[in-house]
């Protein structure tokens, strides 16, 4: 059932993601050109993969001359966090039965869509998810195409500052959650500190470090929150 109001709300909520993705994808598009990809190949990568960190990792390993199999394994590992994110988000769908709807949500479960949708605070309709995913996707694919053709045409300081967009979005969501209860801040602090420690001190890869930090903080949260606070019936 298509609901125009829900689609518009999804597009509205997706706008910050669009901004962040578009500017990041400009850099990705440029990277594909300098790596010797054709225009179609660069844009195809963004169209069928739709993943920030995984795509940059693929290009870096490709440029380093890695074997195909080792690139695929590395990309899988950096994406393994999505198993948990998709599992969590699947429990928030208003109508879990539609096959097309689930395929769309699976395709669109990127970090930012997952986070925005999760904190919506209600069951998610496919119309809402379609608006949210479509807006993010347009930013990612159009940014790749324009970045390939024009490079990062934005002034250097704008391009550099734009990196903050998605982090600001995450920090804004964390601020709202913290206002509702200090426990949210504690749980997020655990994952932030762990992830910083594992990456900066122990030198773990960002994919593995993220996975470990997220899981430990989740278990900590589940012990800290009561069932009622977590909204379990």
């Amino acid at each position: 059932m298509v609901n125009g109001k829900e689609i518009r709300e999804g597009i509205h909520d997706g706008f910050p993601i669009f901004l962040g993705y578009f500017t990041t994808a400009l850099a990705f598009g440029l990277l594909t050109r300098t790596s010797g990809f054709l225009f179609v190949e660069g844009v195809l990568t963004s169209m069928i993969t739709f993943a920030g960190s995984g795509q940059f990792l693929m290009m870096n390993l490709y440029n380093a001359g890695s074997f195909l199999a080792s690139i695929i394994v590395s990309v899988f590992f950096i994406n393994s966090r999505y198993i948990f994110m998709a599992s969590s988000l699947s429990q928030r769908l208003a109508d879990p039965s539609s096959i097309a709807g689930r395929l769309m949500c699976g395709f669109g479960t990127v970090d930012e869509v997952f986070t925005v949708a999760s904190f919506k605070g209600r069951k998610l309709s496919y119309s809402y998810m379609a608006g949210l995913i479509f807006t993010s996707y347009v930013g990612w694919v159009s940014g790749t195409a324009i970045g390939y053709l024009g490079g990062t045409f934005l002034p250097a300081v704008v391009q550099k500052a734009a990196v903050i967009t998605v982090y600001a979005m995450f920090a804004s969501l964390l601020g709202s959650e913290t206002r509702r209860g200090i426990k949210a801040f504690l749980v997020a602090s655990v994952s932030a500190l762990l992830n910083s420690l594992l990456i900066l001190v122990l030198g773990l890869s960002t994919g593995l470090s993220f996975l470990i930090s997220m899981i430990i903080a989740t278990v900590f949260g589940a012990l800290l929150y009561t069932d009622e606070e977590a909204g379990l019936e």
């Binding site: 490709y62 699976g106 903050i164 982090y167 749980v187 900066l200």
Partner: protein, 103 residues
Amino acid sequence: MNKIILIVSCAFVTLLPRIVPYFASSALSRLPRFLRKCMVLLPVAALGALIFPLALTDFGSMWYAGLAGVAVAFAVSLFRGPMILSIILALLSTAGMLLAFPA
């Protein structure tokens, strides 16, 4: 290396872990209570690690520009500011720091 094979196989291993859980959602809803609670709390646990340390390291030696943006966005929403205001003020703070304190 055939680039099309590279692109398609990387897309496959990206989409697989995202899509499969949606087709196991009824089994997931029957998991023990504690694990279902974990799935509810996963988003907030992810938030911290999504922000740190990459919001700082993405700016290299000018990490303080990232910190300023994140702190401003957090503070704005803590005092009930809308998300778009958080983002605009974060952008201005980060750009301001980059211009005021170049590495």
